[in-house]
C-alpha cells in the first residue's frame, strides 16, 4: 500500500493480489483512477521473487522492491532495474527486504531509496541479528547503499522476544520514525538536523512490560507463537503531516486463559490508538475494542486518519472492497 500526493490530490495505491493489478484510487473522490498490470513492469517472479513493497513518486517514477530486484518504472515500461541481494561485497550478509511493516521510500532530495534490511546469516535468537543493519539508503546511480541512523532497540540486543520482534518504519520528507513491537519507545530521525531522538511512547493500557522469553525456547515455535499472541504489541506508527501529529497503534496484552478454561486469542486484544503531538508527547488514547480496525492498512489523509475496517466478522461488508472510517481530529 502507498499513499502519495500529485498536484494537491491524494491517491491510495494498492496491489490487488486477486487481479494482480496495481490499483490507484483518488481518495477524495473515492474512485479508481488506473489499474496497472504491474507484473509486466517488474522482474520475473520466478527469478526475482514477488513484489515486497512499492512506492509511487509520480506516474513516471514507480519503485518496486522484489527479493532480488529493485526497479523503477513508469506505467508502461521499466526505466531501470538493479539486481540486489547478490550475497557479494561489503554487505554480503545483509538482505534488502520489506517485512510488511517498513515500506520502501524514495527520497527526492538525494535520489536515494530507503529499504529495510536484515542479516540473513544471523539467527534471530543471537545478538548479532540485532546489532546488524536495520535499514539502508540505496543509490541507484552508483549501485551502492549505506546504513541509515537508528539501529535495533537495545531491548532486543539485551533480551530475547521470539516472534515479537517486528519493526515498523515510516519515512517522510524531513524525518523517519521507527518503532518495535515490544519496545514502548519511539525512535525518530530528523533528516534536517541529522539527529536521533528517543521518546517514551508507552501506552496507558500497558501495565506490564512484554515478557522476556528464555533463549531455551529458540526453536519452540509454538511457545513463541503463544507469547506473540498474548503479549502487548506496538503496531504501525504514522506521522500526520497535515496536523503535525503522530498516530501509534497498540494491542493490549491478554491473559493466557480465562476463568472458564478457554484460551485467549489475538482477536481478544483491544486496539488502542495513541495520538502524540509533534514533540511526541502523548495527547490521548482511544480504545477501539477488538476486531474493528487493521492498523497496517490505515493511512493519513487530508481529512484525517483513515482507519481500515476489519471485515472478517462482518458479513454485511463486501469481500471485494476495502472500507475506511475517517477519524477527523480538530
Amino acid at each position: 500500500m502507498d499513499v502519495f500526493s500529485l498536484q494537491d490530490t491524494l491517491y491510495l495505491a494498492i496491489i490487488n493480489r486477486l487481479t494482480e493489478k496495481l490499483e490507484v484510487y483518488n481518495i477524495s473522490e473515492n474512485r479508481l483512477i488506473t489499474s496497472i498490470d504491474y507484473l509486466n513492469l517488474t522482474g520475473d517472479v520466478d527469478e526475482f521473487g514477488r513484489v515486497l513493497s512499492f512506492t509511487i513518486h509520480n506516474f513516471d517514477s514507480i519503485f518496486f522492491l522484489q527479493q532480488y530486484l529493485l526497479s523503477m518504472t513508469n506505467t508502461v515500461e521499466i526505466k531501470w532495474a538493479k539486481q540486489i541481494n547478490t550475497f557479494k561485497g561489503q554487505y554480503k550478509d545483509i538482505f534488502l527486504y520489506n517485512l510488511d511493516h517498513a515500506p520502501i521510500y524514495y527520497d527526492k532530495n538525494n535520489n536515494r531509496i530507503s529499504v529495510q534490511t536484515y542479516c540473513h546469516s544471523c539467527h534471530d535468537y543471537k545478538k548479532s541479528n540485532y546489532t546488524s543493519m536495520l535499514h539502508a539508503s540505496y543509490s541507484p546511480k552508483d549501485d551502492t547503499y549505506m546504513e541509515l541512523p537508528v539501529g535495533h532497540s537495545k531491548m532486543y540486543i539485551d533480551n530475547y522476544y521470539g516472534f515479537h520482534n517486528h519493526i515498523f518504519r515510516r519515512e517522510y520528507d524531513d524525518r523517519y520514525v521507527v518503532s518495535f513491537s515490544a519496545d514502548p519507545n519511539i525512535y525518530l530521525y530528523n533528516k534536517i538536523d541529522k539527529e536521533i531522538e528517543v521518546h517514551g511512547g508507552r501506552s496507558r493500557y500497558q501495565p506490564k512490560d512484554v515478557r522476556i522469553l528464555s533463549r531455551k525456547y529458540k526453536t519452540d515455535n509454538t511457545k513463541k507463537l503463544r507469547h506473540f499472541t498474548i503479549e502487548p504489541f506496538y503496531d504501525t506508527i504514522l506521522y500526520d503531516e497535515y496536523r503535525n501529529l503522530y498516530y501509534r497503534f497498540f494491542y493490549t496484552g491478554v491473559e493466557d486463559k480465562n476463568p472458564d478454561g478457554t484460551y485467549n486469542t489475538m482477536g481478544d486484544k483491544e486496539l488502542i490508538l495513541m495520538i502524540f503531538d509533534n514533540d511526541l508527547k502523548l495527547i490521548t488514547e482511544i480504545n477501539f475494542g477488538s476486531n474493528k480496525y487493521r492498523p497496517g492498512w490505515s493511512f493519513v489523509g487530508k481529512e484525517g486518519l483513515y482507519l481500515n475496517v476489519y471485515q472478517s466478522n462482518d458479513t454485511t461488508l463486501s469481500k471485494t472492497k476495502m472500507y475506511y472510517d475517517v477519524l477527523r481530529i480538530k
Binding site: N221, T222, K224, L225, T229, K257, T262, Y263, T265, G267
Partner: protein
C-alpha cells in the same frame, strides 16, 4: 560422592521418565477432547480408533503441499482432518481427495479458543478416548505416523 551418586540416580530417573512419559505426552489432551466434543460433535470416548490431523490455518510452514500429499497418500479408514473454514480452496481440495465425511470443519475457528494453536500441523491418534501417539506433522515424522497407522 554420595551427592554425586544421588545426582546420577536422579539423572537416570529423569532420562527414564522422559522416554516413558515426556516423549509423547500431549499437554492439551482435555482441550482437544473438549474441542472435538463441543465444536465437532465428536466424542472420542465413544470411538474405538480416531486418527486426526489438525491443520493449522494461516501458519507459515503448515498445511504445505508435502504434508497434504502425505495425508492423501494414507488409505486408513479412520484418518480424519480438522480444518478451519478460512480457506475455501483447501477445503475443496480435501473434500475431493479424502471425501467430505473425512473432513471436519472448524466452522467458527475455535482452535485458538481451545488452546490448540500450534506452529505446525499436528497428528493425534486416539484409542478408546486415550491419546496413544501424537506429533507435529513435519516431513521427518511421516514414517513414524505411517508406523502408528499400520
Amino acid at each position: 560422592m554420595m551427592y554425586c551418586g544421588l545426582n546420577r540416580s536422579l539423572l537416570y530417573l529423569t532420562i527414564f521418565g522422559f522416554f516413558l512419559f515426556g516423549c509423547n505426552e500431549f499437554e492439551k489432551t482435555e482441550e482437544i477432547k473438549n474441542f472435538l466434543k463441543n465444536e465437532l460433535n465428536t466424542d472420542t470416548d465413544k470411538i474405538e480408533v480416531l486418527n486426526l490431523f489438525v491443520l493449522q490455518y494461516g501458519i507459515c510452514g503448515a498445511s504445505t503441499e508435502e504434508i497434504l500429499s502425505f495425508i492423501y497418500s494414507l488409505d486408513n479408514d479412520d484418518v480424519y482432518v480438522v480444518v478451519g473454514d478460512v480457506d475455501v480452496n483447501l477445503i475443496k481440495q480435501l473434500h475431493s481427495n479424502m471425501g467430505e465425511e473425512k473432513v471436519l470443519i472448524d466452522k467458527n475457528q475455535k482452535l485458538d479458543r481451545y488452546g490448540l494453536r500450534f506452529a505446525n500441523d499436528i497428528f493425534v491418534s486416539f484409542k478408546k478416548g486415550e491419546i496413544g501417539y501424537w506429533t507435529f506433522v513435519t516431513e521427518n515424522k511421516f514414517n513414524k505416523i505411517r508406523k502408528c497407522l499400520s
